[in-house]
């Protein structure tokens, strides 16, 4: 038998109390691991989602930068438009390596009122120019298999290509008809439009999955905005801070547009959940503090209960350091056991956490928002050990400081 097994057996004397204290630590660790996993996962998800947009810089109509940031990821109904001649003015800029113009319009799904599905009543129609779009998004591929073979980009004004989720939701395949109600700009009524589906895209894990692509001219025409665009997406030759700043200052002179780099978008999206993160960090800190107090209280209580025993241990030859080590080890064991249980809880509950976070702050980020990695878990273990280190100091010092004669006397009393 060694110190470790003696400490473990001491803890097992009050199993319920030990389990409850460990559960307190586990809960704090689970919150901390989930938060760290969310921080990491969220940043990665933002980077992944924005990188999958395919361009580095956007030019869009002046407006709320938050709306601008989320619109490309999540879509939105409050669309702003910029003059289509912006494209002609900007494309000659020598810094631009490639450029694509995009027109986004929101249409009402045909028969959505019959389905009674008001949350999915709208369809995002994205007018694009396939050649420049696929240059920027080379990963776009057509779905194959029964009903999907022969997919291609549109060559006629009444043809559309559907994203994977849009096609699944509408239960459409290549060759089917797609109908939507469009409200042209300046008109009070809506017009039913019919298209032929010529391709369904493979799942990309981005907003493109829920989009219906159509020729940009068609989109501008059916929404009665022939001279408008929603976004100009660009890749620059030199995507560094200085050249980006120069590019921005060159085009900031245009009265109705704003230049938004996707780096800015990333920062904006990180800021969007900043407040929530501060709140979660505060909750975590409180949980850790409560756990620490719980651990100190439990170990201290156990020290006082074993006053006589501690006196006898000293009488039997235990030095102050031995008693300190024993009590301290008990504290560390509670904290490390809590770290193991908490990490397991966080790992097991990560999907649940992710669902809760997405429900709380849905900004259209695709993919996993909670990423629990080995460094995160090691950090949790290290943190729990540090907490155990400090939480154990006082009870261990109290036990080590007991004079054997007093301890034995108190124990007898």
């Amino acid at each position: 038998m060694r110190f470790l097994s003696l400490a473990l057996k001491n803890l097992l004397r009050r199993p319920v109390r030990t389990i409850l204290t460990t559960a307190g630590v586990a809960l704090a660790v689970a919150v901390a691991v989930s938060l760290a996993g969310f921080n990491l996962g969220y940043r990665r998800a933002i980077e992944r989602s924005i990188d999958r947009l395919g361009f580095q810089v956007m030019i869009m109509a002046k407006g709320c930068p938050y709306e601008a940031a989320t619109m490309m990821l999540k879509g939105g109904t409050g669309l702003l438009y910029l003059p289509s001649d912006t494209y002609d003015q900007v494309r000659s800029d020598p810094e631009i390596a490639s450029i694509t113009s995009i027109f986004i319009g929101i249409a009402e799904r045909e028969a959505s009122s019959i389905r009674g599905d008001s949350s999915n009543a709208f369809a995002v129609l994205t007018g694009v120019e396939p050649k420049s779009l696929t240059e920027m998004k080379p990963w776009l591929e057509f779905q194959t298999g029964a009903g999907f073979d022969g997919g291609r980009w549109f060559s006629r004004p009444d043809e559309v290509v559907m994203g994977y989720e849009a096609a699944t939701y509408e239960q459409r395949k290549v060759g089917d008809t797609y109908m939507v109600n469009v409200s042209p700009y300046g008109s009070s009524g809506s017009v039913l439009k019919e298209f032929k589906i010529v391709g369904v895209l493979k799942r990309t894990g981005t907003q493109d999955d829920g989009t219906v692509f159509l020729p940009i001219k068609t989109a501008q025409s059916i929404f009665n905005r022939p001279d408008h665009l929603t976004i100009l997406g660009m890749k620059l030759r030199h995507f560094s801070g200085a050249s980006l700043q120069e590019f921005e200052s060159r085009w900031a002179k245009l009265p109705e547009v704003q230049v938004v780099s996707l780096q800015q978008v990333k920062s904006t999206l990180v800021m969007l959940v900043g407040t929530a993160q501060v709140m979660i960090v505060a909750v975590t800190v409180i949980a850790i503090l409560v756990a620490v107090i719980g651990v100190i209280n439990t170990i201290l209580m156990s020290v006082y209960e074993r006053t006589g025993e501690i006196g006898v241990m000293k009488a039997l030859g235990a030095f102050r350091g031995d008693v300190f080590q024993l009590i301290w080890l008990e504290t560390l064991m509670v904290c490390v056991a809590g770290a193991v249980a908490g990490s397991a809880l966080a790992l097991g509950g990560s999907r649940l956490t992710e669902g809760a976070i997405k429900a709380l702050i849905n900004i259209g980020i695709q993919g996993s928002l909670v990423t629990i990695t080995w460094p995160v878990l090691l950090g949790a273990f290290g943190g729990a050990a540090v907490v155990g280190f400090f939480a154990g100091l006082y009870p261990a010092w109290r036990a080590a400081s007991m004079l054997p004669v007093d301890a034995i006397r108190e124990g007898i009393g």
């Binding site: 038998m1 057996k9 001491n10 006589g308 009488a315 030859g317 004669v405 124990g411």
Partner: protein
């Protein structure tokens, strides 16, 4: 006592005073005492006579407020707690009225407990040997709650013996036991003294048990009021002289 007799403990004018409010309590008040190898000493006296305080002083669990105390020919005056522990280690063994067995450890593990603090490798054979000496070899794997009071006290004695002490100090070891078990414990002490040459200093309320020792010291108000030497002690003193 002869000057050539080996003295394991030697106390001269030993005092332990406490302050209780404005009153000074003289728990031990000028005691002269020597413990030699291989003797069994009983300390008798009514409650509050200073028996336990004297034992705590002799076993370096408490520090005297006056006089001198030599343990194993080393003065322990002014030593710090860990230094006193070093003096105790391997020299003094303890048995208390309450057994203080750890409930989650088996009998064998309880016996081995001091060796953890000694950082000594634990040999189960050694443990079983000690348990055999207290007739509990077959109880090694049992838990304390499966033992009777007498058996628990014998485990506590085995725990004290595992470090091979020269002196066993027992404070009211029969206080929680019935007469039969009390006699068994004192018989065990006698066997340790006579067969293994260990000195035993024991306090007891039970005068009949106390008179089984080689020397009986009676305390009252912190002073020795009477000291009786049995024939074996006289013989022992003659041999060592």
């Amino acid at each position: 006592m002869d000057n050539r007799t080996p003295r394991l403990i030697e106390a001269r004018d030993l005092k332990r005073y406490y302050q209780r409010g404005s009153e000074t309590v003289k728990a031990v008040d000028g005691i002269d005492l020597e413990i030699i190898a291989g003797e069994m000493v009983s300390v008798l006296g009514p409650s509050g006579s200073g028996k336990t305080t004297l034992l705590h002083l002799l076993s370096c669990l408490d520090s005297p407020t006056g006089g001198t105390l030599m343990i194993n020919q080393r003065s322990v005056s002014g030593l710090k707690e860990d230094e006193l522990t070093s003096v105790r280690r391997g020299f003094l063994g303890f048995v208390f009225q309450r057994f203080y067995l750890l409930p989650t450890l088996s009998v064998a593990e309880n016996v081995e407990l001091p060796l953890i603090f000694y950082r000594r490798a634990v040999s189960r054979r050694e443990t079983l040997d000690v348990l055999r000496r207290v007739n509990l070899e077959d109880r090694a794997a049992h838990m304390p709650n499966q033992l009777s009071g007498g058996e628990m006290q014998r485990v506590a004695i085995a725990r004290a013996l595992i470090t091979s002490p020269k002196i066993l100090i027992a404070d009211e070891p029969t206080g929680n036991l019935d007469t039969e078990n009390g006699i068994a414990v004192f018989d065990l002490f006698r066997a340790l003294v006579e067969e293994q040459g260990i000195s035993v200093v024991v306090t007891s309320h039970n005068v009949r048990l106390g008179y089984r020792a080689d020397r009986i010291i009676t305390l009252a108000d912190g002073k020795i009021t009477r000291e009786q030497k049995g024939p074996r002690l006289m013989q022992l003193l003659r041999i060592t002289a």
